[in-house]
Symmetry: C2
Subunit: 324 residues, 2 copies
């Protein structure tokens, strides 16, 4: 089969022929039609996780065919029995096990779910990791309710955009932040009520004047800007944390946290049950993930480079089988 | 009646005769037998809250007699209808309304609760604010379960000690921190499994080796030490935040928060329903709040001075009626 192989850290992926994997008794072999990229793939290439063994095939997101069924793959493997938190056996597809940037992938049978019928292959491949992460954060962790006001920071990323689409479908009023005005305008075109550019001084005060305050916040930045999010919260608000691209959280006021009874809720990935619930919701509201660009599998390094630059709006997809 | 009156900010309290207050239709007049001090009283004297009007009578904690019934007073007034968060009308007894450092106090009828029969007046007065705060934090917010391991920072304070007593009664294993070894030893005498002195370098590593990790943490310090608490957490842990005496939280890792699915939960005071549940639990397990020292009402300034110094272990009580 064809595959994009990470042969050494800090090197471009090699497009090569390799052997089709043989599934173990609990696994199934999926013939992939499309895959999608996540920042995780870039971080692995850059050696930012412990215990990376090369050569390996990257890729956590994929959709394809298994035993004649069209499937999407839940990328969280071996979560375990406690819905509150993943077990020590938990893995994300695509490190240490081989991932989806190939013609075939082996995954545990329980991680295969029917592909939502309204999605083409590119959109189906764009959904899994981002949809699962956003779903667990918004509904399991933050208990988002209809009519609440939501702030999503860093709109343009896959999780942020899916979070916006899920929250709007759930009847929330969604506001966004970005470092570029164009992304805010595009988010408004998808149903956001408004937004603010966090590169502009006083963006949080302006946003508070316009939007009043937020019941739920989604953030994957952390850093020095996190404290402002607590200031933007309504009493009883929940801040879901699913990343930390800007590093450590500083200058967070405990007084604001306890007096407003704020909940800061770490959230990562999710269970197969959450994945199934997310798929049903996406099907019910005919939500289509935003695809930024599609590349053919051999052009995987160009796709990785686009993600590294960070100016995408939506998911970057790899087409593997010929699109129908 | 006799009262300790804050006539001007930054001044000692004046022990004076003043008129007995007349209750409004929704209020009752309570003849106080004992009151207790909270840091809040010191902060008000120091002018650290907005909108303080003098002269006024301090005091949030009190127990006494109303219509022949022995009562304790729930110090959270006008919480409102949303159990998740207090309304804009919410007040704490003893600013802006007159408090319990007097022979009589007027409080809303709904805030009067039967005094647990096993408590004397000093212990009953020591219970309300600390017990309510610890109860909501541990059980409503952090959902403490039997068999979980709990870390309580700054043992010796009223909320921390009541939290320890409640958590032990609920079947948790409780560890503590303090800046003085003597307080850790005293906590162990009350049932704590062990502790660490946060003034010693590497205290968090030592504590992690001894206790492994924590499911629930109670903290009212914040500051630069808060980040270490996240490091001490088990996956799925909850950190309840009810104060911030050391100021802003710094250097908190979002990666630790999301990967361990940690919840950081601000908690302040509680509802009358939570107060009633706390009283029933205290009665069932015959929990007796730790009283550090008792002063006669006229000696209120000595009591305030002891709280300011911060070397107390338990609540500082004012005896108002002659003790039986």
């Amino acid at each position: 089969m064809r595959a994009l192989i990470l042969e050494k850290l800090h090197q471009p992926l090699a497009f090569e022929q390799t052997i089709v994997p043989v599934p173990s008794p609990d696994d199934e072999l999926v013939a992939l039609h499309a895959a999608a990229l996540n920042h995780r793939d870039v971080y692995i290439q850059q050696g930012l996780y412990a215990g990376i063994q090369t050569p390996m095939i990257l890729g956590s997101d994929g959709a394809g065919v298994c035993d004649g069924q069209e499937v999407v793959i839940c990328p969280g493997l071996y979560w375990g029995n406690d819905p509150r938190v993943q077990s020590k056996d938990f893995q994300v597809l695509g490190m240490p096990t081989n991932g989806t940037f190939a013609d075939f992938v082996c995954v545990p049978r329980e991680n295969l779910h029917p592909k939502p019928a309204h999605l083409d292959w590119a959109a189906a491949a764009a959904l899994p990791l981002a949809g699962l992460t956003a779903w667990r954060l918004l509904f399991t962790r933050c208990q988002l309710q209809k009519g609440e006001r939501v702030l999503i920071t860093g709109i343009g990323g896959g999780v942020a955009l899916l979070g916006m689409q899920l929250a709007i479908a759930a009847g929330a009023e969604v506001w966004v932040t970005s470092g570029t005005n164009e992304k805010i305008i595009r988010a408004a075109g998808l149903g956001a009520a408004g937004g603010a550019n966090y590169r502009e001084a006083g963006w949080d005060k302006t946003l508070k004047e316009k939007a009043k305050g937020f019941d739920v916040v989604m953030d994957a930045a952390g850093g020095d800007g996190f404290a402002a999010l607590a200031g933007l919260c309504n009493p009883g608000a929940r801040i879901g944390v699913y990343g930390g691209s800007l590093g450590k959280i500083n200058s967070l006021s405990p007084q604001i946290v306890f007096w407003k009874q704020i909940s800061i809720l770490g959230s990562s990935m999710g269970t197969n049950e959450e994945f199934a619930a997310m798929l049903a919701f996406v099907a019910r509201y005919r939500i289509v993930p935003v695809v930024d660009t599609s590349y053919e599998l051999p052009d995987g390094n160009a796709a990785m480079e686009r993600l590294r630059r960070g100016d995408q709006f939506g998911k970057i997809v790899l087409q593997i089988a010929k699109m129908k």
